[in-house]
Symmetry: C2
DNA sequence: TTGTAGGCGTTATCAA
DNA sequence: TTGATAACGCCTACAA
C-alpha cells in the first residue's frame, strides 16, 4: 500500500539506511546515490510516516491548544495566530474546544498526553486545574494561572481597565457601571475590574459591578432597571457591549449622548461588524506568538530565559460609543 | 521516564501481552489479573502511547481540517462544531488555516498525509485542487468541489440566494445589487448569485453584481458612486453587509428606509454583534455534523450510502435592515 | 560511503 | 488464561 522506506530502497537499489540518510540529510551520501533515491521517491510517490518517526525520536512536533471555543471571535482569532505561527516553526496544532467545562478540559488533557504532544497552550474561564501540573509536559497559560510553574501570557488587563474607566470619566460620566463575565479570582482578567474600581475611587465615585453568567440579556436588563441614572458602561468584552447597545436602543437610550459605552477585545470581527464600538484592543497576534515562543523554549529545555508572566500592551480605541 | 506497558507488566507481575489485553479488553483475562494490572497502572500513572498504537493498527483517529481561518466567525463556528462532534466520536482534529492560499493548502495536505490522518475535511475559496484526488485518503468538501469523487456538503445556496433576493423585491426594492466575494465558478456558493439573477429576471429587473477581492470598502464605495439609485443590496456574507451598513451611514443613506440590506451566514457572532442585520442563516452545526458523518463513513469503508452532494436547508432572518 | 541489526511502544498471532 | 515473538515504519549505533 503506502510506500515505505524499504520500498524506496528497493527501487533505488540501495539500503533503507541510505534512504533514511538522504531523507534526513545526515552523514555522508554520494551524489549519485542521493539522486537515485530522490528519483525513486518521486517514482513511487513516497512520503515519510511521521508517526513512525515520532515514535523513534520521541518528539511529535504537535502542540495541544485548549480554549473555550473557536466560535468566539476572540478565541477564533487567537487560535488562528497560534496555529499560523506554530506552523511556521514546524509545529502542528491539535484543537480542543473545552467550552469552559472542567470535565472536557481534563479529558482533553489526557487525550493530548496519550498523543504525546510536545506541549500545551491553554486558556479558559474556569479556575486553574491541578491536572495541569504535569511533570515533563511544557504548558503555557493565556490569561490564566494554571499551576505554580506554568508561565502565563496575558495583555495588560489592569491598564486596559484603567484606560476604559478613565475614558468614561474624562468624557464626563458620573454613574459608571462595570459588567463582566463570570469572574475567576485567579485570572489576570480580573485586573480589569480592579483597575475600574481604583479609578472610580480615585475620582470619588462608587464602583458597581454586574456579573453575567449565562444570560447576558437578563443581567443587562436588571442593570438598567436598577440604575436608570447610569451614564457610562464598561463591558468586559465586546459581545456584552453589543448586548448593552441593543438593550439601550430598546429603551431609547441614545449612545453616546445619554450613555457612553466601551467594550473589550477589539477583534477583527468586532471592528468589521461593529466599528462604532469603542473598545480596548488586545494584541492578539503578539499574545499568540509569545505563547508559542515560550512553549517552544520550554520544549527545547531553555528554562533560563522564560519569563513567568509576560504582559503585553493594549490599545484604546476611542470610537463612536464614547 | 514515561511508563510503558512493560513497566506496568513488571509491577503487576505479568507479561506485557496481558497488560495490553486488559487495556483493550480483548481475549480472556482473569479477574484477579485484571485488577492487579489496573492497580499497577494507577500506581505508576500509566497512560497508553497512542502514537505507538497508531503505528501498529494503521489508524490514527486524526482528521485534518483545512479552512481559510478560524478568525472568520463563520469558519470559527463551523470548526467548533466539527471538532466538537468529531471528538464525541473519538476523533481528534488537526487544525489548518489555509488563508485561502493554494500553496498553504497543498503543504498542509502533505503534512496531514505524513501524519497519517484518517481523513480530511476542507473548504475554502480557491478552485478545486487536483492534489485532493488522493487514493486511499477519505476527503469531504464543504461548499466546494474538490475532485471527481469527493462528496460535498453545503447548505442550500440557491434557495438562500432566492430567499434573499425575493425578500428585497417583496419589500419593494427596484434597484437591487448583489455583492459577493471572489467567485469560483466551481463552488456551490456561486448558486447564490445565480438565484439572485434568476429572481431579478423573473421580475423584469436587471441583475448587477459587484465582486470584492481584497478590499471590500473600495468596491462598496464604487458601487454607491456608480449606482446612487440602489435601494436594495444582497451581500454574500454578513461581513460585507456590515461594510455596506457603515458606508451607507457615512453617506446618510438610511437603512431600511432608503436602502434595504440583507447578508448571508447568520453566525452566532453576527447575531450578537449585529442583530439588526437581516440575513440568510446557514445551519452550521448540521453542516459540521454531516461533514463528519460522511467522512467517517468513508473511513469505515461504507461507500454505498454516501451521498455525493448533501444540501442542507437555510433559514431567512427578516430583521431590521430590510 | 554504505549496509546490518536492534529498538521506539504497541498489538496480534500462535503456542503453551 | 497467559506468554514469547514478530511486526508496524523509521532511525541510529556500529560494522564493513
Amino acid at each position: 500500500m503506502k510506500p515505505k522506506i524499504s520500498d524506496v530502497a528497493k527501487v533505488a537499489g540501495v539500503s533503507p539506511t541510505t534512504v533514511s540518510r538522504v531523507l534526513n540529510n545526515r552523514g555522508y551520501i554520494g551524489k549519485e546515490t542521493r539522486e537515485k533515491v530522490h528519483e525513486a521517491m518521486e517514482k513511487i510517490n513516497y512520503y515519510p510516516n511521521d508517526i513512525a518517526r515520532s515514535l523513534y525520536i520521541k518528539k511529535t512536533f504537535l502542540i495541544g491548544v485548549i480554549f473555550p471555543t473557536t466560535s468566539n471571535p476572540f478565541y477564533g482569532q487567537l487560535i488562528f495566530h497560534l496555529e499560523n505561527y506554530a506552523n511556521s516553526l514546524g509545529y502542528k496544532v491539535l484543537l480542543c474546544n473545552s467550552q469552559g467545562r472542567e470535565d472536557k478540559e481534563k479529558s482533553y488533557l489526557q487525550m493530548l498526553q496519550r498523543n504525546q504532544v510536545d506541549g500545551v497552550i491553554a486558556g479558559a474561564h474556569n479556575r486553574g486545574i491541578e491536572e495541569y501540573d504535569i511533570p515533563n509536559l511544557p504548558v503555557v497559560g493565556f490569561d490564566r494561572y494554571l499551576s505554580k510553574n506554568t508561565p502565563v501570557v496575558s495583555s495588560d488587563n489592569y491598564e486596559g481597565g484603567r484606560l476604559a474607566s478613565q475614558l468614561l470619566i474624562d468624557k464626563g460620566c458620573k454613574n459608571i457601571i462595570h459588567i463582566n463575565g463570570p469572574i475567576d479570582l485567579e485570572t489576570p482578567a480580573n485586573l480589569r475590574r480592579e483597575a475600574y474600581e481604583k479609578v472610580m475611587r480615585d475620582n470619588q465615585l462608587t464602583p458597581i459591578t454586574y456579573e453575567t453568567t449565562r444570560d447576558n440579556e437578563e443581567v443587562i436588563k436588571r442593570l438598567f432597571d436598577d440604575h436608570p441614572e447610569v451614564d457610562g458602561i464598561f463591558a468586559s468584552d465586546d459581545l456584552i457591549a453589543a448586548n448593552v447597545m441593543r438593550e439601550a436602543r430598546k429603551r431609547n437610550i441614545s449612545i453616546p449622548n445619554d450613555l457612553k459605552l466601551i467594550g473589550y477585545d477589539g477583534t477583527q470581527t468586532t471592528r468589521i461588524l461593529l466599528p462604532e464600538l469603542s473598545t480596548i484592543e488586545q494584541p492578539i497576534k503578539d499574545i499568540a506568538e509569545k505563547c508559542v515562543d515560550i512553549l517552544i523554549k520550554q520544549i527545547d529545555g531553555e528554562r533560563e530565559d522564560i519569563q513567568q508572566h509576560t504582559i503585553l500592551p493594549v490599545r484604546l480605541i476611542d470610537a463612536e460609543t464614547t
